[in-house]
């Protein structure tokens, strides 16, 4: 599923049975969900939930990380717990050994 407009505060987008690609930003107070992976090519200010139906291999890719919350297969981390150095950076979030892991990706 491809979304080419900004996802605004209060909006919720769910890609059932597929990946979700967002070509714009996700605002604070917005939620994006997918059974597969989530790609955000703008800034992720809101919440992103990948692997909603339990897929532990799902990942979240963002061009600029500033999320309120991210979750993969039900395991979540609050944006407050991100250390400052990650904020505004391109990153991927994946599930490894039962923990959510953040990794830098190319700019």
């Amino acid at each position: 599923m491809i979304v080419n407009h900004p996802v605004r505060s209060g909006q919720k987008i769910y890609a059932a049975g597929s990946d979700l690609v967002i070509l714009s930003s996700v605002s604070t107070g917005a939620e994006v969900l997918a059974d597969g992976c989530i790609h955000v090519y703008g800034c992720l200010h809101g919440a992103a939930f990948a692997g909603v139906d339990g897929d532990q291999k799902a990942r979240i890719f963002v061009k600029s990380l500033d999320a309120e919350r991210v979750a993969i297969a039900g395991l979540y981390v609050n944006g407050l717990e991100f250390s400052e150095e990650w904020i505004g950076q391109p990153a991927q979030i994946l599930l490894a050994d039962g923990y959510l892991r953040m990794e830098r990706i190319a700019r």
Binding site: H5, P6, V7, R8, S9, G10, Q11, S24, S25, S27, T28, G29, A30, G42, C43, H45, D66, E68, G79, L80, E84, I87, G88
Partner: protein, 281 residues
């Protein structure tokens, strides 16, 4: 030829929707366009006050919607700008008196007679605000450079893109414009307000203009003049600038001290206090 519908909205109250409707509408009318301002804020009638026509309101928008008066009886022509008309709202009707069919019929009639129909939305995201944005071709989202206003603007932009008639019919989306009002360069410089670039970045919308915080706004509404009427004031120039930007002309650099903004951008710490607050709020 059918007129273009422009909705002035914000979500949050008190940011300058009515001032903007009057000033922007007058700026279009001063360029010779036929403009009708429609007040959607049922029960909190203000637009007529700002334009100094409150004593001339006999029939209003609600009378026309309910078929009790003809449109021509309710339209009030401005005495200074002869292509500017106002359709005032009712101070006594219930909010729910605005029906989809009634509003559609009035907007349709106005579109036949005017180049631009400007809908002044009430605050909030309830019925009145939804009615005001339903027919929009363009939406001007008014926003102050502070966090709660920005969040509400973002929310209302979401409604504009999903709940408008254009969205329902799958036509080209409503053109979204961002107008920053009550901008105070001094307060941005000391970090109390967000810089323009941050507001645009958070809202990802096209910037129509920046209206400075100014005494001229209150003076204008006290005297019943649209704030754009006097081109000698900073606010007047800023609204006229916004109008020319609306027509795609490249106006002089945005009226509010751009130089100062550039300085702010250059000296900006990676993450300001407000940005952090906004993220966590």
């Amino acid at each position: 030829m059918t007129g273009t519908v422009i909705t002035v909205t914000s979500g949050k109250g008190g940011v300058g929707k009515t001032t903007t409707s009057a000033a922007f509408g007058a700026a279009l009318a001063l360029r010779g366009k036929r403009v009708c301002l429609v007040d959607f804020d049922v029960g909190l009638r203000n637009l007529d006050l700002v334009l100094g026509i409150e004593k001339r309101v006999v029939f209003d928008f609600l009378h026309v919607v309910s078929g009790k008066a003809k449109l021509s009886q309710a339209l009030i022509r401005d005495k200074r700008i002869d292509t500017l008309y106002v359709l005032a709202t009712s101070q006594t009707h219930e909010k729910d008196a605005l029906t989809y069919e009634g509003v559609a019929s009035v907007i349709g009639q106005l579109q036949k007679e005017f180049d631009y129909v400007i809908c002044d939305s009430p605050a909030g995201i309830e019925h009145g605000a939804m009615m005001a944005l339903y027919h929009a071709d363009h939406a001007i989202v008014v926003c102050n450079p502070e966090i709660s206003s920005i969040r509400d603007a973002d929310r209302i932009l979401g409604f504009v893109s999903s709940k408008s008639k254009r969205a329902e019919e799958g036509r080209d989306p409503v053109r979204e414009h961002l107008l920053i009002t009550r901008y105070d360069d001094e307060r941005v410089r000391c970090g109390e307000m967000l810089p323009v670039a941050d507001v645009c970045d958070i809202l990802s919308a096209e910037l129509l203009g920046i209206i400075p915080e100014s005494r001229a706004v209150l003076n204008a509404s006290n005297t019943g003049l649209p704030a754009s009427f006097d081109a000698g004031t900073d606010v007047g120039r800023a609204y006229r600038d916004a109008a020319s930007r609306f027509f795609g002309e490249v106006p002089q650099p945005i009226t509010v001290p751009m130089a100062a903004q550039v300085a702010v951008l250059e000296s900006r710490p990676q993450r300001g206090f407000l940005r952090r607050l906004f993220r966590r709020s």
